[in-house]
């Protein structure tokens, strides 16, 4: 029997009451018609809720990331709706999967092409430590070639774990001092990786 045709003439409007979350206002002084707070808080608020991730997916962790991006786990809830596939537009490098030693220079080049401020997340055992591939051809953790902000354990990690790592990144981004990237410590960190 053919399915009856439904004419959507009486659409049910989505009940969004109390189900849309807004970020909290940063600490500050509010009065009638004005609100005063720190610039770094506002910048951090804006940055952390509009991350542009660059997925660098080489293996099975990338499959988990696809699930994370898709509607069920929905990374877009955290403001990371827009995946950029050009490093020049992105501020979060998500490395997912085994990085062979031959891939190391390419990963570093992708990192160098990203503009400051940039963050790096190592997803899964292989990207974090080489994982089970304790061998001559595999890089034993991407922190040998680029600095990493957040490590997500798991082989592969569940999408929840990737989301948790992403929220850790958001915390870092939100609390970052505006002058950190110009500071001496950051310069030394990059120099320890041979990055000018």
């Amino acid at each position: 029997m053919a399915r009856p045709v439904r004419f959507n003439i009486h659409p049910i409007l989505a009940d969004t009451k109390d189900s849309i979350s807004m970020v909290n206002m940063p600490e500050g002084h509010a009065g009638e018609g004005f609100f005063a707070t720190k610039l770094s808080d506002v910048v951090g608020l804006a940055r952390k809720n509009s991350m542009w991730p660059l997925p660098f997916a080489t293996s099975c962790c990338g499959i988990e990331f696809m699930a994370t991006m898709a509607s069920h786990y929905d990374l877009a809830r955290f403001g990371a709706e827009r995946l950029g596939f050009s490093p020049r537009q992105c501020d979060l490098l998500m490395v997912m999967g085994t990085i062979a030693k031959k891939m190391g220079p390419i990963l570093k080049q992708v990192y160098l092409q990203m503009a400051e401020p940039r963050w790096v997340m190592a997803v899964g055992a292989c990207a974090s430590s080489g994982g089970i591939f304790d061998t001559y051809s595999v890089l034993q953790g991407i922190d040998q070639v680029i600095p990493v902000d957040v490590y997500v354990p798991g082989c592969p990690p569940r999408p929840e774990a990737i989301l948790d790592g992403f929220m850790k990144i958001q915390d870092l981004v939100g609390e970052e001092r505006l002058r950190r990237r110009n500071g001496e410590g950051y310069k030394q960190l990059l120099e320890s990786y041979g990055i000018q």
Binding site: K101, K102, S129, G130, I132, D134, Y136, S137, Q140, G141
Partner: protein, 167 residues
């Protein structure tokens, strides 16, 4: 099927006498060896002979036998007669201190990359190879990873939790 392992063996013995030796047939695959200086002569004969016609090099690799003194490295050629559909395996052994073997590129063009790979992993020096450099590993690598002279794991490493890796 005109060509049989016995025929191949007889023809080789007739041509090279004692120089080809150690004939075996594991799983029906005729296997033999010769001194490493003879590798091109033997393969040229296998290639040119009107009856043998082994004109296709299926595989070329090496094996490291750390316990065989002065014969540590074996270079293994898998040859295929496409007309009679017969395969044979041909080995030459070499000292690990002078792993020099003549290249087979003049006979089989497919030997080019396979010899580079064998050099990459076992350090066999193929004399006469036009471009003998690493093909799979990073260029900076200063060792030959498939030689059995490294511990399976570096016991001094501290960057991995032993309990997590079953040590």
């Amino acid at each position: 099927m005109s060509l049989s392992n016995e025929t191949i063996k007889a023809k080789l013995s007739e041509k090279f006498g004692d120089q080809v030796s150690n004939f075996q047939e594991p799983y029906g695959l005729l296997t033999f060896e010769s001194p490493k200086e003879m590798n091109l002569k033997v393969m040229q004969f296998l290639y040119d002979d009107e009856e043998l016609r082994f004109q296709f090099l299926t595989d070329l690799t090496a094996v490291h036998y750390p316990d065989k003194a002065a014969k540590e490295l074996a270079v293994v050629y898998h040859l295929h007669n496409l007309i009679d559909n017969i395969r044979i395996r041909f080995k030459v052994f070499t000292d690990i201190n002078s792993p020099d073997i003549f290249t087979a590129i003049q006979l089989y063009s497919s030997a080019n990359w396979m010899e580079r790979e064998t050099y990459d992993f076992f350090g066999i020096n193929f004399l006469g190879h036009p471009n003998l450099k690493r093909i799979l590993n990073v260029d900076e690598m200063d060792y030959f990873p498939m030689r059995k002279q490294y511990p399976l794991e570096d016991q001094t490493r501290i960057d991995k939790d032993d309990a997590m890796f079953g040590r």
